[in-house]
Amino acid sequence: MNTSVKIAEGLILKNPVLSASGTFAYGEEFSEIFDLSLLGGIVTKGLSLKPKKGNPSPRVFETTGGMINAIGLENIGVDAFVIEKLPFLGQFNAPVIVNFFGNEEEEYELVAARLDVDGISALEMNVSCPNVKKGGIEFGKDPNTLLSLVSRVRRATSKTLFVKLSPMVKDIREMAIAAQEAGADAITCANTIPAMAIDETTQRPVLGNITGGLSGPAIKPVALKLVWDVHQCVHIPIVASGGINTYHDVIQFLLAGASAVEVGSASLRDPLCFIDIIEGTKAYLKEHSIQSVTELVGKLII
């Protein structure tokens, strides 16, 4: 039985189960509880050029079947990551996929260039960030903006490049096509859904940042649809993100067209869920006499 999937020439995952950005920090804490070499890949917290302080507290709130976060992309910055965190991640036998973002095209480019170092297998661009030069509209909202941004980043790095899309767009397909056209090697589909919580006793927003992003099982049906849509229109691999909690979810996302999945919020509640998910996936393959994970990708029977 073969659980490995090839995402790009330089990137073969031993299994399709990755961590997700922002729910795995830089790997250190999780390494205390399981061997990170078991993972298909390690996706790290989103990095910016300079360290970022993030949003005021409260930053997280639980909702029905999920949670809203408004961390505000707090991170140690790309330099500190390369110097302080990357060597640690090098110990494990799992590709390191570094999530990053910027506030303008140039910052994306600079961060990507700075991450073109050994020990990193791929970059994941978070395009759900406001473009400060364009009045704060997210890069991931318009296909032309995205095409231009991804093209610049593509030229700035030799690494395998994932583009992580925003879910809340007019048509995710045109975004995926733009990313592919600009040279992305894979599409991560998708980020959290914009959301909000209000405490009616105080009559105030719950989160320090007022709004945040919804994740967890609540959004799984939405993410599944997005992956299915993207699968209809691109030929590069899709990495699914959104509400993956069990191996059932993994199989469903593979069938919808994903080649791999990222597990985010689920690992906040259950740090060992990765192991259950990987084992469950293997057991499913065995039970259904499927030789290779890749046989399932996009094979939804209509």
């Binding site: 922002g22 729910t23 795995f24 920090a25 804490e29 999780f30 205390e32 509880i33 917290k45 302080k53 993030g54 507290s57 409260p58 930053r59 997280v60 709130f61 639980e62 909702t63 029905t64 079947g65 999920g66 949670m67 976060n69 961390i71 707090e74 967890g216 099982p217 909690n245 919020s265 690992s267 906040l268 509640r269 259950d270 740090p271 060992l272």
Partner: protein
């Protein structure tokens, strides 16, 4: 940190809305001030675990003292002996050990009791000031009163037990009269911690506060629980929950 299965041995009401839960579980050794993340339901309702201080953790028995606040703690209160819970811990840093010759004062308000009580049971010295709204809100009275070496002082807001007023009123009195250097260990509502920290500053006492923030992971990966300190943002779950009072930017 380990994710262990705990079997409920006892889950008894010990004050208004307050329960003492004891679990048979193989949690690694812990220090006072550390906590665990408890999965209160198998499904996704609620989705996240809930943080609780470790009241005690000896001989395979873990004790948690908790108050019913919302649906998570409500579900916990419905657990019966034999039920199994998933427990992640021990988490966080815990209190530091006081220097010799220091007078130790513990200040606890409401659900802030467990971490400081845990420390008092460990150190077997000092004065424990407990503040509550009223008599019905005071759990484990006889257990605390019978602690060797520890003196209990209770303040209730409505005067239904002990001193009528705030825990920090008692603290002010105590530190005012103290003859040597004092180490204060506190956990409770924000206002109480602020007043405690003020008092420590005024009297030049050492002071450690155990903070609470809403947590999603509890082990440091999500940055959901940060608090501002003079050293920048710190994660309450990982860099705390115990902080030097001087470091906190209230």
């Amino acid at each position: 940190m380990k994710d262990v299965r705990g079997t409920v041995c006892n889950n008894t009401k010990v004050a208004d809305d307050t329960f003492l839960l004891s679990l048979d579980c193989d949690l690694p050794d812990s220090r006072p001030g550390q906590f665990v993340m408890v999965k209160v339901a198998c499904g996704y309702e609620p989705f996240l675990r809930r943080p609780f201080a470790i009241l005690s953790n000896h001989k395979q028995t873990l004790e948690i003292l908790y108050k019913v606040k919302g649906r998570g703690t409500q579900l916990l209160a419905e657990k019966r002996p034999g039920d199994i819970l998933s427990i992640l811990g021990p988490l966080g840093n815990g209190f530091s050990v006081p220097e010799e010759k220091r007078q130790v004062v513990y200040v606890a308000g409401g659900t802030g009791l467990p971490p400081v009580l845990s420390l008092a049971e460990d150190l077997k010295q000092g004065v424990l000031i407990f503040g509550a709204q009223s008599k019905d809100q005071i759990p484990l009275m006889s257990r605390i009163s019978s602690l060797p070496g520890v003196e209990l002082k209770v303040a209730t807001e409505d005067g239904s037990y002990g001193f009528m007023g705030l825990a920090t009123d008692l603290l002010d009195e105590l530190t005012g009269n103290a003859r040597g250097p004092v180490s204060i260990y506190a956990c409770g509502p924000k206002g109480m911690l602020l007043a405690t920290s003020e008092c420590a500053r005024r009297t030049g006492s050492r002071c450690e506060l155990s903070l609470e923030e809403f947590m999603s992971c509890g082990f440091g990966v999500c940055s959901g629980c940060v608090v501002e300190t003079i050293h920048g943002n710190k994660r309450v779950c990982r860099d705390g929950p115990v902080f030097d009072a001087q470091d906190i930017l209230f």
